[in-house]
Amino acid sequence: MLLTIDRLTVEVPGTARPLLDEVALHIAEGEVVGLVGESGSGKSTTAKAALGLLPAGATASGSVHVAGADVLSLTGEELRRHRARTVSMVHQDPRAALNPVRRIGDFLLERGADRTRAVELLAAVGLSDPERRMRQRPHELSGGMLQRVVIAGALATPPRLLLADEATSALDVTTQAEILALLRTLRAEHGAGLLFITHDLHLAAAYCDRVYVMYAGRVVEERTAAALFADPAHPYTRGLLACSPTLGDTPRRIEPIPGKPPSLSDAFPGCPFTARCPDAQPDCSSRHPAAVTLPDGGTAACHRIPAAVPAPAERTAP
């Protein structure tokens, strides 16, 4: 297993609940794994844990292993080498991830590429005139171009695990499609694992092998992409699918999930989704639901699992 996160709990002082609560997640080599959830559900925190990067003042329990190394116990030079060689991250906002006063070339060179390779990388991510791009500064490039630069930076030293944090969310659809294709090609070439973070469930289902759904710092469902889309088990996953519009011959009502995502000042003795859940029962808010293994091998954390999932025949095809 390339990445194994086991019962990872991350707490910061001054919040009512942990940022991450017993998160378990694994990625095999060459696998594309999606991580889906609303803002603040802990997706980025989970990904950054693979880099050994925890929020300031945070305490963590549980373990994070990447290619055999216990990431949370790495320090100093070992940790630096882990971040430089084994795991790379494509950051959410490319304009913020680049130093505004330095050149694109510097960004790639300091991440371990030499000049020739840096130019090759810029060409590989589909930037025209890579020689000129090397000398340009971030403010001279568009958002889509910077996103490609950031991806090139993540590949400067070919990583074994690539973390893509909303790597395409800020882009228009054609650029998004190109970047996604690019990430798949690069993954295929290097045999690396890819953790693909998005809030777009449809995109995750179409692009990934397996998908984790997170809510309030917990993994609430883990399924293969096809199963998740065809037969979502957790009410939250169903809610996410119901509130995103799709193309199809059957017109379908778009139903937003009632309420709003929980903040860090909300503590939950039971299932955190209770207040917004259409299937909630009185005992949901008192007991913490354990992850149940589903017939197809996935897992979901819901007290109502046997009762809440309607038989497949009753549902309209998406």
Binding site: L53, S88, L98, N99, D106, E110, E140
Partner: protein
């Protein structure tokens, strides 16, 4: 860029013009009558003699006329004659300016190296004892007035330890350096606190940017992160502050040159004010203001070189 320089130059001249008027009026309004001094003291003073002296030095004309005359002459680089020494003011200044420039340059070197160095140290070790030590020591240094610091330095390094001479400005490079060390140090001490604070704060702000976290997540060595991302991006405020403090030091030499018996611009000014030597006092003050405005203008013009975004916005 040429438009920008022209605009800065116009502002520079306007500031000088305003400053020259304030200086002229301030010296004019200072208590005491220079004519009494020029006539050779109160003893042999007769009204006729006083009137003759006033007429000779144009002191009987209205303020605005005197100012106009002085400004017109100054534009032709004729700063007049000293009442006290009868020499050309320009010659007096030219003889003393190099010492003061050396003193200020030396003090600037000291506070830039020590102040920025201490600030970097405090920023890198933020929250540790090093940080507290830097903040504490520089605050203490800043709260001691420069004449007190000068006396303390003289008594310790000059008298007790005998490492440095206590008066004069020395000859030759090594001699000058040796003589100016204590004065430069007492000038620089007060600046250390503000420079190290600004450095520390600017670096803390720069270190909080997302791109620094991104660099750290990419496993870039910490030394390079501090140098190329944090310090590099913090240079704007640091350089601005260093420029302002260095420019302000021309005025600070008044105290330090007097305390150390150095014959520079500062002690010339003190002497001129005591003797009601209008032309010298006005010329030195004007020179100090010019120096200040010049340095701040240069700092302002340097800024776009540090930040390519500003450069682009101005040329576009």
């Amino acid at each position: 860029m040429p438009v920008r320089i022209a605009r800065r130059l116009a502002g520079f001249l306007a500031t000088l013009f305003a400053a020259s008027f304030v200086i002229f009026v301030a010296v004019y309004a200072a208590p005491g009558d220079p004519a009494v001094f020029l006539a050779g003291g109160r003893d042999k003073l007769t009204p006729e003699r006083l009137a003759a002296v006033r007429a000779q030095y144009h002191l009987d004309e209205p303020l605005v006329v005197q100012y106009g005359r002085w400004l017109g002459d100054s534009l032709h680089f004729d700063l007049g004659r000293s009442f006290q020494y009868s020499d050309q003011v320009a010659d007096l200044i030219a003889a003393r300016l190099p010492t003061t420039v050396q003193l200020v340059a030396y003090a600037t070197l000291l506070f830039v190296v020590l102040g920025v160095g201490a600030g970097i140290l405090a920023a890198v070790r933020e929250g540790s004892w090093v940080d507290s030590a830097v903040v504490g020591t520089t605050t203490l240094a800043a709260s001691v007035p420069s004449f007190v610091a000068a006396i303390a330095l003289v008594s310790l390094f000059g008298v007790r330890l005998g490492w440095f001479p206590v008066t004069g400005s020395g000859t030759g490079f090594a001699g000058t350096l040796h003589h100016l060390t204590l004065p430069a140090l007492s000038l620089a001490l007060g600046a250390l606190a503000v420079i190290s604070r600004v450095t520390r704060q600017a670096m803390a702000d720069a270190a909080a940017s997302d791109h620094v976290e991104a660099a750290r997540a990419s496993g870039i060595p910490e030394r390079n992160i501090v140098r190329r991302h944090v310090l590099r991006n913090a240079l704007g405020p640091i350089i601005t502050m260093c420029g302002l403090v260095a420019a302000g030091m021309f005025a600070g030499t008044v105290v330090v040159e007097t305390a150390f018996g150095i014959s520079g611009i500062g002690s010339l000014l003190v002497g001129a004010i005591n003797a009601h030597d209008f032309p010298v006092a006005q010329a030195v003050l004007l020179l100090m203001v010019t120096g200040y405005v010049l340095v701040t203008t240069v700092v302002d013009l340097v800024h776009p070189l540090l930040d390519p975004r500003v450069r682009k916005a101005r040329t576009a």
